[in-house]
Subunit: 413 residues, 2 copies
């Protein structure tokens, strides 16, 4: 037997990234392929067409997750899952998410080429709405699949133009009438997700593959500031309840309160919406997001718990309400999966670096239902969530090689 | 001869406000009738239809201003102009702007009823884009008419969805193919604009009519903050150039720097747009408006001149550019026009209060080309630029009575 890793083709894998990146391609060379959009529908069609020769069965579920299944020798055995997501940020790159799905397909292609049918089925999954930029929070599909959240709670979430997740899921199902709908939350034997690092470590240290030790915790919030609309020329400042001014006071206040000399805490306000958002009208309402991350769960908990009280203080005289959208404490992947990834890499001469994930991933939720792990590959300058996101064909292939051999090990030869 | 003021009909004038307010009516009882919108087109149609019995001629010009002309005995004499605007803020009221146009029409109706044809023509004008909320800056139509700005400079201004003033002007012209286009900037004998006060003084002091002494100065700016897009989970805070965080630092910094113990200075940031505006992406770009007003021109000049330097300082490490969109120093209307308004009011038993205008008006630009003045009527609680904006039929009628007699005086009996 030849290891499946010997059949991974770097040029073919690279080409599959370029092909997928046509769906939602931006002028600056990035991708705008937001969750449940026309672009994502087209990208899923491409995945089906591009794998037709592999004899995979496509499935979907009520949460809009998308699976490509390679049958195993034991039809009823819970599958080994691999994959990530193909939705992107509004100005995203070609590799974030897409790599995990395309590396999974390349691994199956390599398995086929090696002539092996493993004991368990292997499924490549594209989870619904990992990014959370069109519909907040992110990772809806994997959360619903793993039972970490109720799908029903996501259905009424709307995007900036008022379109709901529920409506878009129905549209996605209609677009794939021929793809069978499976019950949400199948048993899974194991989950391994390949992803670009989205940080600088692998590149700086000269490794092509990283073994992810765990995922940094993250809490997200929506802060709503309610003031009173007024005329900018006639209303004395003392009589105003200016929602935009109050929102900026809250953001600056929290930013100062959360100053971390060690620069480990991540505090980000990436989104703000103001009403009526007119130059000569004192704003009646401002709504902004908070993304708070810290690898230490206790710190993350206490800092996040301070947000509501501080926001109310800094936001006076406006009314402030703070709603927590998601709360995920830091986690460690099980040692056996990390050892397996490191071991299969070593077997084929690839050196690995152990490192934590600063970004959140769908593997967070799968971790709750099956042994899970992640494989990182470097990305240029650690840059992601950016049209300039970049990776090398050689690094991508190294990650896919390790993944192919790991999947075989987990699925059983 | 009976004075035209005796023919002003409070109920009819009130009804004309309700009719016009149907165009762009909001659920909360306000108006969303932004410049050059479908709603404004429909409202202009209504003005033509509602005045058909008065034998007025409609005209427009390249700047999209809209005129209804009552001929005088001397066809070639420069007309007396009255009016205001019928565009509104996105969540505006039923009286701001509309009152000046409808009071002008009511005055002409009263003149017709009194059987008088004055020596000069009288024209009621609805200026294009006074509000400046869809397209910044405001008062485009009157500025272009008065030669205070080049129309060509406005044509490329776009709204939030990328539609330009030039395109919308062409659409407006097409919608009124039957309305003759006059050269921009006709000679004008005098201009009187009626408007709600947008402040609390008349109501507090118990006057139904105010003689406006002048207009508070106003400068508007657009501040562009350029940072770098980055992943909210992986990018250390020290390495970030967060455009949204920098924008909030600038807004808070300016707000502190501009603290005025006398509460006369008005500093407003009413609008902000962030890119990509996604919760887990460090913002690459933030653009916000500044509206700065002060009745003392020297103070206004020096404060406004500080904005660029302060913004660059507060906005580090992002790049900040500040562009001034409009600069209008404080002005005083000529004493003879103010005396005329006060005199005609006194003649018919209406007491007046002299007061400055804190808000900007199209009369600012007409002041540069002809003797100009303004008549204020109270609005409830001084509230405007708000769906709750309100005025009484009786106060509106008092203003129209004074306007009718003033117009006759200016046009010559």
């Amino acid at each position: 037997m030849t290891r499946p890793s010997t059949h991974v083709d770097a040029a073919r894998l690279w080409q599959s990234h370029l092909s997928l990146a046509r769906h939602g391609a931006t002028a600056a060379g990035g991708v705008n392929r937001q969750a449940l959009s026309d672009e994502e529908i087209a990208a899923r069609r491409e995945l089906i067409a591009a794998t037709r020769d592999l004899g995979l069965a496509a499935f979907t579920d009520a949460a809009g997750n998308f699976f490509l299944r390679m049958d195993g020798r034991e039809a009823d055995a819970p599958p080994v899952l691999t994959g990530s997501h193909i939705d992107s940020q509004p100005t995203g790159g070609r590799f974030d998410g897409a790599y995990g799905v395309l590396a999974g397909i390349e691994a199956i292609r390599a398995l086929r080429a090696s002539g092996i049918t493993p004991r368990r089925p292997i499924e490549v999954v594209a989870w619904m709405n990992e990014e959370g930029s069109r519909f907040a929070p992110g990772m809806m599909g994997s959360a619903a699949f793993a039972g970490a959240a109720e799908l029903s709670a996501f259905l009424t979430v709307t995007d900036a133009s008022g379109v709901s997740v529920g409506d878009e899921l129905a549209r996605m199902q209609k677009a794939f009438r021929d793809v069978p709908l499976r019950p949400l939350g199948q048993p899974v034997a194991a989950y391994v997700e390949a992803h670009i690092e989205q940080g600088p470590l692998l590149e700086q240290e000269g490794f092509s593959v990283g073994v992810v030790t765990g995922i940094q915790g993250k809490r997200t919030f929506r802060v709503t500031v309610s003031g009173e609309e007024a005329h900018a020329g006639t209303t004395p400042l003392r009589g105003r309840r200016d929602a935009l001014l109050a929102a900026t006071a809250i953001i600056q206040g929290l930013s100062r309160a959360f100053t971390d000399p060690d620069d480990i805490l991540k505090f980000t306000v990436g989104r703000i919406e103001v009403q009526p958002n007119a130059p000569s009208v004192v704003a009646a309402r401002a709504v902004f997001s908070i993304d708070l991350r810290h690898p230490d769960s206790a710190r993350l908990r206490s800092l996040g718990d301070d947000i509501a009280g501080l926001s109310i203080d800094y936001g006076r005289p406006c009314e402030v309400t703070v709603r927590e959208l998601s709360c995920a404490m830091s986690l460690e992947f099980p040692q056996p999966i990390r050892d397996l990834i490191r071991g299969r890499a070593t077997d084929i001469g690839i050196r690995t670096l152990d490192l934590p994930s600063a970004a959140g991933h769908d593997a967070r939720f799968l971790h709750g239902v099956c042994p899970s792990g992640m494989i990182f590959v470097p990305c240029k300058g650690g840059i992601s969530h950016n049209e300039a996101e970049s990776a090398t064909a050689s690094d991508l292939a190294d990650g896919a090689r390790v993944l192919a051999d790991v999947l075989l090990d987990l699925a059983g030869n």
